[in-house]
């Protein structure tokens, strides 16, 4: 069974079609990178998949459960209770972290399990501390986000998403807001997650990283998938447009 299935996704903003007809499926343990120029619809794709935006057409299926489907030319979503369950399946890491500034690092990570999943406080705390340990941030448990560097904040944000034990993790340009020095520490974490076979969809501009880590790369432009394939297929024998785009990223 596919962890995620998107069929013929369509999304419009004020009459402008941002996503034309996107279909993709992701198997368990797969790492998929989405690359492409700005405005190609990459972020919109993630936002539709994580239900931050409402789809205008198509189907969204997680682990065989339909979250949204088409009925009479419009998208219909499953009832709230069902959607709540579906939301547990995925996590999203934002470009600008979106940590809760008034919570400590530890509370940022353990609060959702406690408040949403009703995990007992002590259990959640232990799990959160373990996650921080894996990320090398145990000593920051009682710090507040504003005291952390961008790279540290993004790692905490990843821990926060992981705390809810999702089946699939989405990353919306996780390193775009970081300066090059800090990018490395975040990529290291994602690399580790890939080793542990976490299913992931990563929208990124880090070509080298995408090439090294992905099982599959999707190149998007103007709301459609131009080319899809293994890193070798895309980087060795790309179509002209992909070649041109990748060429702009030296190294």
């Amino acid at each position: 069974m596919n962890v995620l299935e998107i069929n013929h996704l369509k999304k419009e903003f004020d009459g402008l079609t941002v996503l034309q007809d996107i279909s993709l499926s992701v198997k368990k343990g797969e790492v998929v990178s989405v690359i492409g120029p700005s405005g190609s619809g990459k972020s919109t794709l993630l936002r539709c998949a994580t239900m931050l935006e409402q789809m205008d057409g198509g189907e969204l299926v997680y682990m065989g459960e339909k979250a949204a489907w088409e009925e009479k030319d419009a998208c219909v979503y499953a009832p709230k209770e069902k959607l709540k369950q579906v939301r547990r399946r995925f996590g999203l890491v934002f470009q600008n972290f979106n940590l809760f500034p008034h919570y400590t690092v530890l509370k940022n990570i353990m609060d959702a399990p406690v408040s949403v999943d009703r995990v007992p406080k002590e259990e959640a705390r232990q799990q959160a501390l373990a996650l921080l340990g894996q990320l090398g941030l145990e000593d920051k448990a009682d710090a507040y986000p504003y005291q952390l560097s961008g790279g540290q904040q993004q790692r905490v944000s990843i821990a926060r998403a992981l705390a809810l034990k999702p089946e699939i993790l989405f990353f919306d340009e996780p390193t775009s807001a970081l300066d090059p020095e800090l990018t490395g520490e975040v990529l290291k974490v994602i690399r580790q997650l890939a080793k542990e076979h976490m299913t992931m969809i990563i929208v990124t501009h880090e070509m080298k990283f995408a090439r090294e880590l992905s099982d599959r790369i999707i190149f998007m432009e103007d709301g459609v998938i131009r080319q899809q394939g293994t890193p070798e297929e895309l980087f060795m024998a790309p179509d002209d447009r992909v070649k041109e785009f990748i060429g702009k990223f030296a190294g």
Binding site: F94, N96, N98, V116, Y146
Partner: protein, 216 residues
Amino acid sequence: MSTTTMLRLLGTGMLKTVSIFFLTLLFSLPLGLLFSFGRMSKNGLVKGISKLYISVMRGTPLMLQLIVVYFAPYYILGIKIPSWYRSGAVILAFVLNYAAYFAEIYRSGIESIPIGQYEAARVLGYGKAQTFVKIILPQVIKRILPPVTNEMITLVKDTSLAFVLTEVEMFTIAKQIAAKEASILPLMVAGVFYYFFNLAVAAVMEWVENRLNYYR
């Protein structure tokens, strides 16, 4: 009149002033939040009513509102006004008036919270109420402390308007003593009382601000 007598008389008035202050805050702070929700509502009717309410309450003199609130039961509903209503009307008018100002202050705070906070909460599975109470409201409170402090200081001075409904608060007493003794001294003393009350309010609010500065 001896100084101690004067201070004692002004002191009883001060108690009334302080009670108006606290009772107004007690009710107008929650009511203001309700109106700010109305103001931000997607429902056109709810939004319109809230906007109208805020516009009228901020756009007309509090003194006038005090009179209207007091005489409304009689002129609009034909009910005879009971004597206890005088204190009630004062509080009611103050609460209705200040709720309008607080509504806009809340709105400015709520609208200044980045949408990313809402989105992160949503993806993590927080419900709408949970998101507001746990994530949004604490951040809003920190942001609105300065304008709320402003309103509280204004409120301390506005309490003197209660004289319009012959509520004997401190300023009225000061005027009466001044008239009787043909001296401006009671008014000066009243001024000092107000100043120190406001100093206390500002000091407390600053302490609250400092407590909330554990994060930026």
